[in-house]
């Protein structure tokens, strides 16, 4: 089965010789459309490296990364940048919203960089803000919004247009538990609508939103879980 994202025996080594750090050591992972995969593991296990490679922000030292069947390694820098803007959405812990732009301008920016006209970009950006329930904040600047609203704007920016792959690195950041849950709900909805999603998190409760959870340890995938159907077996011990 081919996925929206495919990692084939991916290695990433920083440095060389005795000082070499092996961040990833032969990771293979396929994420299909409509599938959300959570990546868990202790600090330094390679989670963020995996996400950076998946998003074309970093290049593997071995193996291949494919997005919608296209091998990122073979693309010239310009093409890679274009693919990143068009097909991949990123949500990071630190929101990276530009303080001098309003919410709608922040969301429209990647489209405009990609050649979409200003009006069309604004229209698409407003639609994306509506999708995450912050259309009312469209003309506000980031510092005029709550943390939860800012994160929704950041998500709208990641989802705007035709992005088929959404990559999220601890996207709930410092949000309270309700606001954090709302963010995951949005991510889940986008994936259910056909995107492929990768969620890096150290919180099991957040990973619970995924269809599949993979554990990284020292740069190696050590386990993968998919939910079992039916919870009756979990509750058999509760009749006391």
């Amino acid at each position: 089965m081919s996925g929206v994202l495919e990692l084939r025996d991916v290695h990433r080594t920083h440095g060389a010789g005795e000082a070499a750090v092996h961040a990833l050591r032969g990771v293979s992972l396929t994420v299909a459309a409509g599938e959300l995969v959570a990546v868990m593991g202790p600090s330094g296990s390679g989670k963020s490296t995996l996400l950076a490679l998946a998003g074309g922000l970093d290049r593997p030292t071995g193996g291949e990364v494919l997005v919608e069947g296209e091998a990122l390694g073979g693309l010239p820098a310009r093409e890679l940048a274009r693919l990143r803007r068009r097909r991949i959405g990123y949500v990071f812990q630190d929101l990276n919203l530009l303080g001098s732009l309003t919410a709608v301008e922040n969301v429209a920016l990647p489209l405009e960089l990609d050649g979409t006209g200003v009006r069309a970009a604004r229209r698409l950006a407003l639609a994306a803000l509506r999708e995450v329930d912050v259309a009312g904040q469209a003309d506000r600047f980031p510092d005029q919004m709550s943390g939860g609203q800012q994160q929704r704007v950041a998500i709208a920016r990641a989802l705007v247009g035709e992005r088929r792959l959404v990559l999220a690195d601890e996207p709930t950041g410092a949000l309270d538990s309700q606001a954090g849950e709302a963010v995951l709900h949005l991510l889940r909805r986008r994936v259910d609508d056909g995107a492929a999603g990768v969620l890096v998190t150290h919180e099991a409760r957040h990973a619970g939103w995924a269809d599949r959870v993979v554990f990284l340890r020292d740069g190696v995938l050590v386990d993968s879980t998919a939910p079992l159907v039916g919870i009756e077996h979990l509750l058999s011990g509760s009749e006391r």
């Binding site: 409760r205 959870v213 998919a226 939910p227 006391r240």
Partner: protein, 193 residues
């Protein structure tokens, strides 16, 4: 929790017979706690013996409703007012299992940790899926029950992560008999040599 207080709480809403109580009980716990009708009748009999509920005359369909008594109401109020003691909960088999795995020869503790974490993670995914699909306002009691299970599962995964980190730093002593004070002294002497 006791089925006893669950049934008292339901009867506080109004009189009910056995099958109604079972259905209402399962509904309010989102069917996470299935009851068989035998448990309902046994519990009702004990509640009646203790004067906390009172049977009413059978209806025309042959069903006997029960109602809560004043003593039952007092018992229920006390239950709501009293925090649940941790000591009343069952012993945690998992922590005991891991403690024993550490000291039992031939057991790979890391595998035990990983196996449990996968299972708990699966449960967490399933609870979350159920919560995600129960978003109607009237689902709130059920969602809160699910949240409780989600937080418990999360705590277990965190604890397992903690165990794994501790194991990395741990120098294995598996299989060694429980240290006798003299043995400790000897080991200390050897270490100093």
């Amino acid at each position: 929790m006791s089925i006893r207080h669950g049934l008292l709480a339901l009867l506080e809403r109004g009189q009910m017979y056995g099958y109604q109580l079972r259905a209402a009980f399962e509904e309010s716990t989102g069917s996470t706690w299935p009851l068989n009708i035998g448990q309902v009748y046994t519990t009702l009999a004990r509640l009646e013996r203790d004067g906390l509920v009172r049977p009413l005359p059978e209806n025309e369909s042959g069903q006997r409703p029960y109602e809560i008594t004043d003593a039952g109401r007092a018992d229920l109020a006390l239950w709501f007012a009293t925090p649940i003691s941790r000591a009343d909960r069952p012993r945690d088999e998992l922590s005991i299992k891991l403690a024993l795995a550490l000291t039992t020869p031939g057991v790979d503790v890391r595998t035990v940790v990983q196996t449990q974490r996968s299972a708990t993670m699966r449960a967490l995914q399933e609870f979350t899926r159920l919560k995600y699909t129960s978003d109607k306002p009237e689902d709130l009691p059920w969602r809160l029950v699910l949240d409780a299970m989600i937080f418990q599962a999360e705590a277990e995964v965190r604890w397992l992560d903690h165990c794994e980190t501790s194991l990395v730093r741990h120098r294995p002593t598996a299989g060694r008999p429980v240290a006798h004070p003299e043995a400790v002294d000897r080991a200390g002497d050897e270490a100093r040599r």
